[in-house]
Amino acid sequence: MNFRTDSRQFKRINRRELLKLSPVLALGAFAIPKLQKPLLKTGLAFSDWASARLFGSGHLARTFDDSELTPFARFPINGYDVDDPGVDFDNWTLTVSGAVQKPGDYTLAQIQTLPKFRQNTRHVCIEGWDVIGRFGGARLADFLQMIGADPAARFITVQCADDYYESLDMATARHPQSLLCYEMYDQPLTREHGAPLRLNIPTKIGYKQAKYLTDLKVSHVLEKAGYWEDQGYSEFYGL
């Protein structure tokens, strides 16, 4: 289509077309210190919302052959505080509370009465490295049944002997590969790897694999997302 115009009119057309681009300036909101934090928090929350939707409750994480395992000595020990918080194994219990029918203290022997599952799965750190480890333990879903967790509850939070704390959404907690882990490489957990009980959640990022568990709470609302979440990491971070 051709048309005739004059230079004055053409300037006006150009100015109007340029002004139509002004919505681009809205991105400048990210440069305003006061707005930056809430905007990024919203962006992260949106990513978490999308992540929860992408999560397939029946979708299994890939498992590996024994030959693909990272040697135990090369499985990183990532304590946020101390590698060994000095747990007293003789008197250790997992204290269960919240929306459950049978709250109270559970011993390791009680947890070990549940069927044991072993899996070679990938552990992915938020930093970007990954290792393939062998984990053994009881399904978290079975334990939730044992303690009579409210089926309508939405979250699980755990406390650790080193003051670390973490949370899981219920869909992930009930995933068949989510373990209350008490063995690595077919040996009882070592202190550095979270003895006597840790989480092994192959569908979650590394910082969700809490070690040295002491308390487990079932809840309808998320009170404390986790130590790293409080520093600014994603609350959901499903893989």
């Binding site: 230079s7 077309e17 949106f46 890939r62 990183p76």
Partner: protein, 229 residues
């Protein structure tokens, strides 16, 4: 696809100039928003990379390169991830809007590199890099330009797919598998970024070489005195 052409009479001199409406509004909007999002993705991505600047094992760790903190966005890994996981939606959103627009408006004919463009590539390379004669230009983009833009679009799509494979290696395990596994997907994601930066470098050099009228066309849509009219 009908291109708008304007004949502009200069009110002072009476000289008639011509201008072509090269870039529709959606294209310009997506171009600038995506450009900003791309910069955020690159510098927040480099912040994330700093946390583990390697593509091998954690123990023992062999670092590929140390990227200076001053040239990374977010202050620390968590901050970098917040920027990355926020702007990826803007990056993907403008990318999808652009692709849909190009397809449904049939504007892609202006950009998409087709087999018939192949024979026009060498003359342009010859002209740009070896001072060969300037080939005759009939349309908005020459064959080399089309090749560059089409490559950039492909790289953009690859940046999203490789990113998805390392963000969700379990849910999109097939993607990670296609890329040779989680570590390879990470490496591809990194390599695609450098490829995009290489395109960006060439793009900016060309923008400088082609002058003001060409630059303005991406702001207002109108290119004055295009050489192909």
């Amino acid at each position: 696809m009908s291109t708008q052409i304007a004949a502009i009479t200069n009110v002072k001199t009476g000289v008639i100039d011509e201008a072509v409406y090269e870039h529709p509004f959606i294209v310009r909007l997506c171009h600038w928003v995506n450009a900003l999002a791309l910069l955020v993705m690159v510098f927040s991505g480099l912040q994330i990379f700093r946390a583990f600047p390697s593509f091998g094992a954690k123990i023992p760790q062999k670092d590929l390169l140390h990227w200076p903190k001053a040239y990374a966005l977010g202050g620390w890994l968590g901050g970098g991830l917040q920027w990355h996981l926020t702007f990826m939606w803007i990056y993907i959103g403008t990318g999808l809007l652009y692709l849909n627009y190009e397809i449904f408006s049939r504007n892609y004919k202006q950009v998409l590199f087709m087999p018939r463009d192949i024979r026009g590539v060498w003359p342009m390379v010859h002209h740009y890099f070896f001072f060969g004669p300037k080939p005759y230009v009939r349309e908005a983009y020459n064959p080399l330009q089309k090749l560059a833009y089409t490559s950039a679009i492909v790289l953009g799509i690859l940046s999203v797919l490789t990113g998805l494979a390392i963000w969700k290696p379990v849910q999109f395990s097939w993607l990670a598998w296609l890329m040779g596994g989680f570590r390879w997907a990470r490496l591809w994601h990194f390599a695609v970024m450098w490829a995009i930066l290489a395109f960006l470098f060439g793009h900016l050099v060309m923008v400088v070489l082609h002058g003001w009228n060409n630059f303005v066309s991406m702001l207002t849509g109108w290119k004055k005195d295009p050489e192909y009219l």
